[in-house]
């Protein structure tokens, strides 16, 4: 911006309009996401104990540290204060199994940032959700640790130590909905409590950081696709509400799929993206070898975002619809 002094009393800024700007900045938005994750963190401590915070903290420290180190190495501006690496760290921590090894969590965190984000050029240029990329890596590297589930603190019987999805997949047992809603079930650190996730997610929608379209499309999608199977054979397939509250669906819906960088730009694109994820989740859960499919569904849809953007350009105002 050029400053020209006309009258010695005033220094006037010159720039092209608009001359005012909304208060929102990327940094703002990022720290509000961190705020929205607090209920999920509380639920993690409540159901699985304070050790889980150490996992999250490890993940955060290594995410931020990796970003710092890479920026330093590449002689780029340090951007850790924009909060995005911190978010990746919290998200990765919350989608790991309870009591997970701290060193493995650190490895996942390094992978998330180094390969999931910085290798593409940093924030804004990555194709895949960094936290999910890190988790996918851990799933391949530590398959047993990644599927070993601790019992939640208020568990009534031993059955609940498996996740509801694993119980369904391997034992054909349908879990009850109510404990899934509160979070008193087996599962990843921050994914079990639907209510905690909903509080954070609805907060983000209300303040305008998360667009409602992707969550709506995903929730409707999973109810519809899950519902179709349930109608076909309610004894064999779980009811759609189970699909909604099980596993990482809600966490993925509000905190992963809605990641700005890796989701579509256009409103039509957002609906397609959401429905696509829901469709793949139901397919994997019902027909796949794995009990859960949220991570892969989101990663697969992340990869087609550029194509979705290209083919969902909105009709220009005034052009024939």
């Amino acid at each position: 911006m050029e400053t020209i002094t006309v009258n010695p009393a005033y220094k006037l800024e010159l720039s092209s309009s608009p001359h005012i700007h909304s208060r929102w900045s990327t940094k703002h938005a990022m720290w509000f996401v961190v705020l929205a994750l607090i209920p999920a963190l509380i639920s993690a401590v409540l159901f699985f104990g304070p050790y889980q915070l150490l996992i999250v903290l490890t993940s955060v420290v290594f995410c931020a540290g990796t970003e710092f180190a890479i920026k330093k190495f590449r002689k780029k501006k340090i951007t850790v204060d924009d909060g995005s690496a911190v978010i990746t760290g919290i998200l990765l921590g919350l989608i790991l199994p309870p009591n997970f090894s701290l060193s493995a969590a650190a490895i996942g965190a390094v992978f998330s940032i180094a390969i999931g984000k910085e290798i593409f050029g940093g924030l804004g240029y990555n194709i895949f959700n960094p936290a999910l990329a890190g988790r996918a890596f851990l799933q391949a590297a530590f398959p047993v640790a990644m599927t070993t589930w601790a019992k939640p603190n208020f568990a009534v019987d031993s059955v609940t130590s498996a996740t509801p999805l694993a119980a369904y997949k391997f034992d054909k047992v349908f879990a009850e909905i109510q404990p899934m809603f509160l979070g008193n079930i087996g599962g990843s650190i921050g994914e079990t409590s639907a209510i905690a996730i909903l509080i954070g997610g609805i907060f983000l929608i209300a303040i305008g950081i998360v667009n409602y379209r992707i969550p709506i499309a995903m929730i409707l999608g999973v109810l519809i696709f899950g519902g179709i199977f349930w109608v076909i054979d309610p004894a064999k397939y779980p009811n759609p509400l189970f699909q909604l509250f099980a596993g990482g669906f809600l966490f993925g819906t509000f905190f992963m799929a809605t990641d700005w960088v890796t989701s579509p730009l256009t409103s039509k694109g957002m609906y397609i993206f959401g429905f696509g994820i829901a469709f793949i989740i139901v397919l994997i859960r019902i027909f796949g070898g794995l009990p859960e499919g949220v991570m892969y569904a989101i990663l697969i849809m992340n990869s087609v975002v550029p194509i979705i953007n290209r083919y969902t350009r909105p009709t220009i105002f005034g052009e024939a619809k």
Binding site: I4, H19, I20, S22, R23, T26, W260, P314, G318
Partner: protein
């Protein structure tokens, strides 16, 4: 939320902090005649007017000093009585020096008026002729010669005149004051426009943040069953022609077309007042009604000033500029032009002078685009600003052209809303100019 909202509007847009309370309850104050006025020959869009006075000529207020020069042009009157001291290129609020007639005032208050016409019996031709000779230009910002808009091509079936009372730019309260203080004259102006354009139906579109104006206007149009007051959602850019027509009639003006093409004529509240004054009182447009506001001016005011008054005189009249002012803008904060010289004079179409401080501007550092889609959601014309800006910055003008960059009306909504603080509309403006140059070159080949 989005499902429950039935107020008429358009899709997209933003709602910046209004800051209208600084001036909305202040009546217009008429400024004393300044010592010197600098009357630009480019008061309007189109060809500059041709001076018919010389250095040393004695002029009276209301006398024509420069005549209309072509179809899209408008005559210029002397706003004051005095002596022409020079005709020269002078600083201009557009940012580029423009030819102007400089007049030293002599303190005499003579006013050469045209014969008043009877608003009920006047014919369409008489109104158009009067609007033309009174030098009335659109007060909405573009300053298009008004008489041209009153005379739609015969093959276009125009069925509604819409008065733009949205005043969707933050800070500005000039149109609001007109609606409050001169309600009947606004309606009279609208009726004259309807008569001139040969249109039966009239509407006044007002945003729902101006309940007092809505009530007053409703009262004033009670006796005319063919005029309605339409309450529109408070949202920027509700007052953009295309958005206003969409909200009031549901019609969409296609890209590259004009309001005529969907049967509408749009005029600003200030223009209606000017038309009323020209026809009923016989007064040419010699003054501008201006909101002087912002947190950087000592006494925000709504001011009536002679056309050609230097900005500095007006700022002084409003108590002067505070120390923490960083920007002076002529027009609204979303589309106005930043000023670098207070000697630039106000024009017929000047609607606001804003003195802004750092705090109001919220100028954050630019960060990479996160493709959050806020600009796509906010763009009232359904463009993809982030993509157009990127293509412009990479100088990929052909691709930008294919993505309809020329449709952009530069309202600035995208830049306002961008959390990464990317100068989207600024890049698009640059790309659009280059694409239009390319298109002209193609035509001449």
């Amino acid at each position: 939320m989005f499902l429950l909202n039935h107020t008429k509007s358009f899709n997209g847009g933003v709602h910046p902090t209004e800051n209208k309370s600084l001036t909305e309850n202040l009546s217009f104050e008429t400024m004393p005649v300044p010592k010197v006025v600098i009357v630009s020959l480019n008061q309007h869009l189109g060809k500059p007017a041709k001076p018919i006075v010389k250095k040393g000529s004695e002029v009276k207020a209301g006398e024509i000093i420069a005549e209309q020069n072509g179809f899209i042009s408008s005559p210029v009157h002397s706003p004051v009585s005095g002596k022409v001291t020079k005709i020269t290129a002078s600083e201009n609020v557009s940012g580029f020096p423009k030819d102007a007639i400089v007049i030293e005032t002599n303190g005499v208050s003579e006013f050469v008026k045209m014969p008043p016409l009877d608003s009920e019996n006047v014919t369409a031709e008489e109104i158009i002729e009067r609007v033309k000779t009174a030098g009335i230009v659109g007060q909405g910002g573009a300053a298009f010669p008004t008489y041209v808009k009153l005379n739609p091509p015969k093959e276009k079936k125009v069925d509604v005149v819409i008065l733009n009372g949205c005043e969707c730019e933050p800070y500005l309260t000039r149109d609001y004051r007109f609606m409050i203080e001169r309600t009947d004259d606004v309606v009279s102006g609208l009726r004259l426009i309807m008569k001139a354009a040969g249109v039966e139906k009239g509407a006044i579109g007002v945003e729902d943040n101006k309940p007092e104006a809505i009530e007053k206007l409703r009262e004033a149009v009670k006796k005319y069953s063919n005029i309605s007051v339409e309450v529109l959602k408070t949202k920027y850019p509700q007052g953009a022609e295309k958005m206003l027509i969409k909200a009031v009639t549901g019609r969409e003006v296609p890209p590259g077309k004009l309001p005529f093409d969907v049967g509408a004529v749009i005029q600003n509240i200030g223009t209606a007042i000017a038309i009323h004054d020209a026809v009923v009182k016989g007064e040419p447009q010699l003054t501008s009604a201006i909101t002087v506001s912002g947190f950087g001016i000592n006494n925000p005011k709504n001011v009536i000033a002679n056309v050609g008054t230097p900005l500095g005189d007006i700022l002084d009249f409003c108590g002067g500029v505070k120390d923490d002012a960083v920007k002076v803008v002529v027009g609204g904060p979303m589309m106005g032009i930043a000023q670098y010289d207070f000697s630039a004079p106000v024009m017929k179409a000047t609607s606001g002078i804003l003195v802004l401080t750092e705090k109001e501007i919220n100028d954050n550092k630019q960060t990479p685009c996160l493709r959050c889609g806020k600009c796509v959601d906010a763009c009232p014309l359904n463009l993809i600003p982030t993509k157009l800006a990127r293509l412009s910055s990479l100088e990929k003008f052909e691709e930008a052209e294919q993505l309809d960059i020329t449709v952009c009306m530069e309202c600035g909504t995208c830049t306002y809303t961008c959390p990464a603080n990317i100068p989207l509309v600024q890049w698009i403006r640059f790309g659009k100019q280059r694409v239009m140059t390319l298109q002209r070159e193609r035509q001449t080949v």
